[in-house]
């Protein structure tokens, strides 16, 4: 079936079998491999993308269900040059080691801080509980997200 949506600000189209998840559509048909697929049944959070502003698990959404939506992946968070404030914060706080889970953490944290720039540490810990990381022990990730909040307090999206 033919699917059309907006990926990272650009209109895209794909011809996919009905059973294709949004994750596989993005990776295999649109060749944007920043989104990682871990468990394929909604427990690890690695494949998190942002659909119409909300963080969702792209392995638990059909590509067909994204028709007409605005989808943002980790590629869409990164400015043309350098890193976003959130990504810089991950580097500063050593919030990743192998990096497999990182796109999911970045998209989740970006959606959260965009909607709730004043999220407290407890809220951030609670939200990030939906993403698994087997390297870091989470502490540095939580520190990085907390530290990035100031960049989201401004309303200008260009500053992110």
């Amino acid at each position: 079936m033919n699917i059309a949506f907006e990926l990272n600000g650009k209109p895209v189209e794909a011809e996919v079998p009905a059973r294709t998840t949004l994750a596989d559509c993005i990776r295999h048909h649109l060749m944007q491999t920043g989104t990682h697929v871990g468990c394929e049944h909604g427990v690890c959070g690695a494949c998190t993308v942002i659909v119409d502003g909300d963080a969702v698990r792209s392995c638990l959404m059909l590509a067909a269900q994204a028709s007409g939506a605005k989808v943002t992946t980790v590629e869409g968070l990164t400015p043309a040059e350098g890193l976003s404030a959130l990504q810089e914060s991950f580097r500063k706080h050593h919030a990743l080691q192998c990096g497999f889970c990182t796109p999911g953490f970045l998209t989740t944290a970006h959606a959260l801080l965009t909607q709730e720039p004043n999220a407290d540490k407890e809220r951030i810990r609670h939200v990030l509980s939906g993403n698994l990381c087997r390297c870091t022990g989470y502490i540095n990730i939580i520190e990085a997200v907390c530290d990035a909040r100031s960049a989201y307090a401004k309303s200008d999206p260009e500053s992110r």
Partner: protein, 288 residues
């Protein structure tokens, strides 16, 4: 693993949804958020030949609060309940219970109707529906029918919903402002399925004694239902420490969990007692 093959259909009205279900008896499943159905399919526990998506059906995600109570459209997401400030007074038990549903990303997709139709006894919404004597509105080829939650849940992952029926909405009866309540769960990590949980509410009569007690459990029952023996142990009593212990003991005995990889039935029964005793203390201390 990858999903099995199916044909994808996205009609735009409830009548068309029901017609498609009737046209493919036993072979079609409704998908809304897909947060329970898609993992089930990934594990090949379900392989429907047709998926009928509700995404183009307008008006099924409304939260209506009126004299009859709270009406939740079947496609209402957990996130919509979280964001609706009116529910803090219109149905605080629902609002509190929903904070325990799954993780952030799942809450942005998962729906009330999906959870009720999936009927996992470890899920919060079926527990709230059963505990609060919710009424479901179902639509089939013959038209609408209404059904009490107590008649809807028949077993684990088993409901009275026919193959050619869909859930339109669920109504939770009106919530009096003075009502005492608590909802407690225990899970190893936030967002995981709870090892056990309890939902409790009761009203106070003129002599400050508990009446109209409703107790339900999460994850420690064969299917979502109330605990009438524990409820009658509280009705007519003043809620003090001694009563709380007695009611908790009754609930512990009455709960009928199964053992699994995560916890034994004995542990879950004990947990129900511990949580209910705490819930009774919380509810008694709560002032409206």
């Amino acid at each position: 693993m990858k999903l099995p093959n199916f044909e994808y259909l996205a009609p735009s009205s409830p009548a068309e949804v029901v017609a498609l279900l009737a046209a493919h008896p036993g072979e079609a499943k409704i998908i809304a958020g897909g947060q329970s159905l898609l993992p089930t399919m990934a594990f090949r526990l379900a392989q429907p030949a047709y998926l009928v998506d509700l995404r183009n059906v307008e008006g099924m995600n409304r939260i209506v609060i009126d004299d009859s109570g709270v009406r939740l459209g079947a496609r209402t997401r957990w996130r919509d309940i979280e964001d609706d400030a009116r529910l803090a007074t219109a149905h605080p038990l629902l609002k509190e219970a929903i904070t325990h549903v799954a993780h952030y990303q799942v809450r942005n997709r998962g729906t009330v109707g999906g959870s009720l139709a999936h009927a996992d006894p470890a899920a919060e919404m079926p527990c709230i529906a059963a505990t609060c004597e919710a009424e479901l509105t179902l639509l089939g080829p013959e038209g609408e029918r209404r059904m009490k939650a107590a008649d809807f849940f028949l077993g684990p992952l088993t409901t009275a919903l026919s193959d050619d029926e869909m859930i339109l909405e669920v109504r939770l009866p009106r919530w009096p402002a003075q009502r005492r309540w608590a909802f407690l769960e225990f899970a190893r990590r936030p967002g995981d399925f709870a090892l056990g949980g309890v939902a409790l509410y009761y009203d106070l009569d003129a002599e400050n004694r508990a009446c109209n007690t409703h107790i339900g459990v999460v994850g420690a029952c064969y299917y979502s239902k109330r605990l009438p023996i524990a409820e009658s142990a509280l009705d007519g009593k003043r809620v003090d420490a001694e009563t709380a212990r007695a009611v908790a003991r009754a609930a512990s005995e009455e709960a009928d969990p199964t053992s699994d990889f995560h916890a034994s039935a004995e542990y879950r029964k004990s947990l129900v007692g511990t949580l209910l005793e705490r819930a009774l203390v919380t509810a008694a201390q709560r002032t409206s």
